[in-house]
Symmetry: C2
Subunit: 344 residues, 2 copies
């Protein structure tokens, strides 16, 4: 590679020799045995293999625009794999394939791109999913912020599974697998303009191996979501609304790291609205909550799992309430806007 | 809608009330009966319906960054549907489902977004594909150029079809369905900074209904590609290289509009390298070329179809050559870089 090729140029997105060089030399060498290696315009995947795993195809898409591109606990590449994979996993799907599309700003250092693509490939390998097709676009300097990645995921949902945000019933328990708000807090600390320092890492992780054993063993799982944008408060509010129930959390049962709490107090933020990238919220029939909790405790991503609340009949249907330490309950409103842009 | 809501704000991408309002009020109302209406994190599509249509799943992804967003003959919304659909169709797949992911720059007029999403919905409806899942991100002003759209397409390839860029054989004929370079030329004219005027429209169109009857009736189709980035020259070069043959075109048989030719002469461009968005290049066994041509002529998108050249044994294996009006042949080199950025 000559010195003039150490950053991405418009030629890398132009469909000619430079683009094919980038695809062969960087993407294909990182992603390995992609069916894309056939160099056709589409990946071709045997349907027989899919039917064997379930009766429905799951399809989900996400664009990642996180800033900064690299942060403690992850980077945009790892996030782009785990985020889409989790959107499949919370539907009960076995994640199988990903597409990966890159919008690159002219001038992005090739070494950085290589690192991020490598991280993506590593995350996919660890999760057992294959990146099967891709796309590369380059836009002029100033027309994008360094790098955006879209991933679209394909999985298969086993027959009989019917998770839904609308399925929560009074008496059900609410479980989460770890600390609340780590990703949002870590991104905030990673943004130099805030001038803050701290030791928080994103929880960015692929949750399917945590989720699948519970789904296989506990027929009483009703709703399952990963608490990304909008935070844990956002997803529980959606569940409460769609199921026409009240979800009540017990404030002191919420696992929130002291650093996250301190940061939120400093900036006037609500930890329940911070984004997470490795946190699943599960509503489950009360008689199976203990079994699910034990399964989670036995998994590296579920060591800090807890029952944090329960589903109640009306009182405030469609709402999320928090029981405070002195017995008073308050409603948690999900705001119109946001706490922080570009956290994913 | 209040006056403060007439442009996209960061709140529209934040996972709260504003985002849900945008999704419900704009995307879902345009895309209609999306399985996404279930408001789960993933679309759930019956596998039984897929097996009935073929034996392989086709998966393809494309991000669209075209500038300007609207141009004669189309816009980024129509392009995002047709472009991805065509990448499925040229693999012989029946296109079924699309995901749609939007990266929006803060400040984008809501009316413009509504128009583009409406155009996308209309293109999907006309093509008989369903947009089943989506994503919306908003980045700060100056961090993207107005709007980028990613679409990922899912289709099914009928059993027995095995199109490949590596399948061309000496003696095969090369067909295209229409004029060369319309899209690239129209985009150039639409860019005000060039100060040019002209009456050219993009050929942006969904090609599956043009392609499917030929595949159903002509077993001799070897390679099929849509000639987008890199132009007709780019895809024929790829076929020649992958098949280790020479592809020879007859220059005067190339259907190029006089306006496109004039523009290329003015700017020193090669029409064969201009992007197209509704042009398919097909390599087919010589004994079936006439039948395929007749099928194309009977289709509105194939009225100007022509046999433009043939596949030859070595001489220049892996190369594309052009036979000029006086009997001399020249090789067409596909350049390292590009003629024009952001044409799709």
């Amino acid at each position: 590679m000559t010195s003039t090729e150490k950053t991405i140029t418009l030629a890398h997105g132009a469909g000619g020799g430079a683009m094919h060089g980038l695809i062969d030399g960087l993407f294909l060498s990182a992603f390995g045995d992609m069916p894309l290696l056939q160099k056709e315009d589409q990946a071709r995947l045997p349907l027989a293999g899919l039917q064997a795993r379930g009766d429905r195809l799951a399809l989900t898409t996400d664009s990642f625009v996180v800033s900064p591109l690299e942060f403690p606990g992850g980077d945009i590449g790892k996030l782009a794999v785990c985020g889409t994979l989790n959107d499949l996993a919370v539907g009960g799907a076995v994640p199988l394939y990903l597409s990966a599309a890159f919008i690159i700003e002219e001038g992005l250092p090739l070494a950085l791109l290589q690192r991020l693509v490598g991280s993506m490939a590593e995350a996919a390998r660890q999760a057992g999913v294959t990146i099967v097709t891709g796309d590369t676009k380059v836009v002029e300097r100033g027309m994008a912020d360094k790098l955006f990645i879209n991933t679209t995921g394909v999985g298969v949902i086993p027959a009989g599974l019917a998770l839904s945000v609308a399925a929560a019933r009074p008496g059900d328990k609410v479980l989460i697998n770890g600390h609340v708000g780590d990703h949002g807090a870590a991104i905030m600390l990673a943004r130099e303009e805030l001038g803050l320092e701290g030791k928080l890492a994103s929880d960015c992780a692929a949750l399917h191996t945590l989720i699948q054993p519970v789904l296989a063993q506990c027929a009483g799982v009703r709703c399952l979501r990963d608490a990304t944008r909008g935070g844990l408060g956002g997803v529980l509010n959606e569940m409460a609304e769609a199921s026409s129930v009240e979800i009540r959390l017990t404030e002191q049962d919420l696992p929130i790291r002291p650093q996250t709490r301190a940061l939120c107090e400093l900036l006037g933020l609500e930890p329940l609205l911070l984004a997470n990238e490795g946190l699943a919220a599960m509503v489950i029939a009360p008689e199976q909550a203990g079994q699910a909790l034990a399964l989670w405790h036995a998994h590296p991503l579920g060591r800090h799992a807890r029952i944090i609340g329960e589903v109640r009949a009306p009182a405030s249907p469609g709402r999320l309430s928090l029981l405070g330490p002195y017995g008073g309950a308050r409603l948690l409103e999900v705001p119109h806007g946001l706490q922080l842009p570009r956290i994913c």
